[in-house]
């Protein structure tokens, strides 16, 4: 069974979606991610969807759900690299993902995660 890898980076988790997202995969990711957050007591999740070109309401809802679940587990979620076409589709579907933080790319997404955790300077300062 194919899976989306979840990488641990210190106190954060990094998820890069590089395959076409289908419903089973999305549910699997949801399961794996929640498990991993509690296992590593992560403080933040970064989901990179820059290669995702097609999105439907289910995937949109899944992203919102993951963010909500992560928040319950005390982790912030940042979705990065959304394609213009995907953004337009989600808006047309009426999904604003209001609970999800967004950033342009992985770099700014990481900055945002550090900022959200309030220890941006200490982390960057080493």
């Amino acid at each position: 069974m194919e899976r989306i890898p979840i990488l641990r980076m210190g106190q954060f988790l990094l998820v890069t979606i590089q395959v076409d997202m289908h419903d089973r995969l999305a549910v699997q990711l949801q399961d794996d991610l929640t498990e991993k957050i509690s296992e590593c007591s992560s403080r933040g999740v970064l989901i990179d969807i820059s290669t995702l070109e097609i999105v439907d309401s289910f995937i949109g809802r899944m992203l919102a759900n993951i963010a909500a679940m992560a928040r319950v587990l005390d982790a912030e979620t940042v979705v990065v690299g959304m394609q213009p076409a995907v953004a337009i589709t989600l808006v047309e579907l009426g999904m604003s993902l209001s609970g999800v933080r967004t950033a342009l790319n992985v770099e700014t997404g990481m900055e945002l995660l550090y900022e959200l955790r309030g220890d941006f300077n200490s982390e960057m300062g080493g």
Partner: protein, 294 residues
């Protein structure tokens, strides 16, 4: 069998000469079209009519025999639409052919009133149909022209400009309808990706009115930009528009609005962690320096 087709073929040179004379006294736009061009156009059309008439069919002009006449009229109408002729002037070009043909018909039938009337009626029908074809072609080419201009206007009116490192501005001029929102949204999102911008300023100084639909379109654009990780600031909200927004009960909560583009720019600089300061010394107040906040 009417003698009209035969007559047109036989006398078409005289008819044409008569027609040119007719046109020089009737509507004649010497400022728009040269004598030579008029001459060649009339020759072309008269030849086409003569060849159409040779088929003997004078009432139905949809057949292949009249194809050349239809094409010629289409070409003439298109060129006249471009030259700036009015619809009636273009139609008159064909309609002024009536009298010369009537004259020729009268010369052919000096002593037979019944045949004369018959031929006149047939030629009237023929010329009217030709005039209608002309008017249709004229209208069609005008409409094509307008459609192209609209397209150009659409592209011209949605520029996305880069104001500063990581800051985009999108001055919207004109009313926002669904079609334009689509263009605005696409060009903004594309620019966000290309320039890696974190803040986009949507300036609505040039939007005449904001109603619920326009507001909804704006919110859609802002949401899409947010999904990509760029914050939007709306600027250029005029006092009347602020009043309208409140009266209509439009909810702009969660959207940052500023009265002026400069206010929005100041906020955008702050958001991206940049400051613009004056340089002290000789050029104080004239030059500014960008410094990245540590």
């Amino acid at each position: 069998m009417s003698k009209l087709p035969e007559m047109i073929n036989k006398h078409h040179e005289e008819i044409r000469a008569d027609w040119l004379k007719q046109m020089s006294t009737a509507v004649r736009r010497a400022d728009l079209i040269s004598n030579e061009e008029l001459e060649s156009q009339s020759r072309e059309l008269m030849d086409a009519i003569a060849s159409g008439a040779r088929s003997g069919e004078l009432t139905n002009l949809d057949g292949p025999a009249w194809g050349q006449a239809r094409d010629t009229l289409g070409a003439i109408s298109t060129s006249r639409a471009k030259q700036g002729f009015s619809t009636s002037e273009t139609a008159t070009f064909v309609l002024s052919l009536k009298q010369p043909i009537f004259n020729a018909v009268r010369r052919e039938n000096p002593s037979d009133p019944a045949a004369l009337f018959d031929d006149i009626w047939k030629s009237t029908q023929l010329i009217d149909k030709l005039a209608l074809i002309t008017a249709d072609a004229f209208q069609a080419s005008r409409e094509k022209f307008i459609a192209r201009q609209q397209e150009e206007l659409m592209e011209l009116s949605t520029p996305v400009v880069k104001l500063w490192d990581g800051i985009l501005a999108l001055p919207i001029i004109g009313t926002l309808d669904s079609a334009r929102t689509q263009v605005v949204m696409e060009s903004l999102l594309q620019a966000v990706v290309q320039t890696n911008s974190r803040v986009a300023i949507i300036d609505i100084t040039g939007v005449p009115t904001v109603d619920t639909l326009v507001a909804q379109h704006l919110l859609k654009t802002i949401t899409a930009a947010r999904l990509m990780g760029a914050d939007c600031i709306i600027s250029g909200v005029r006092p009347q528009i602020a009043q309208t927004i409140v009266h209509l009960g439009i909810d702009l909560a969660g959207v940052i609005t500023k009265a002026k583009l400069s206010d929005a720019f100041a906020l955008a600089l702050q958001r991206t962690g940049q400051v613009v300061t004056k340089v002290n010394g000789d050029n104080a107040g004239k030059r500014t320096l960008l410094r990245r906040e540590e």
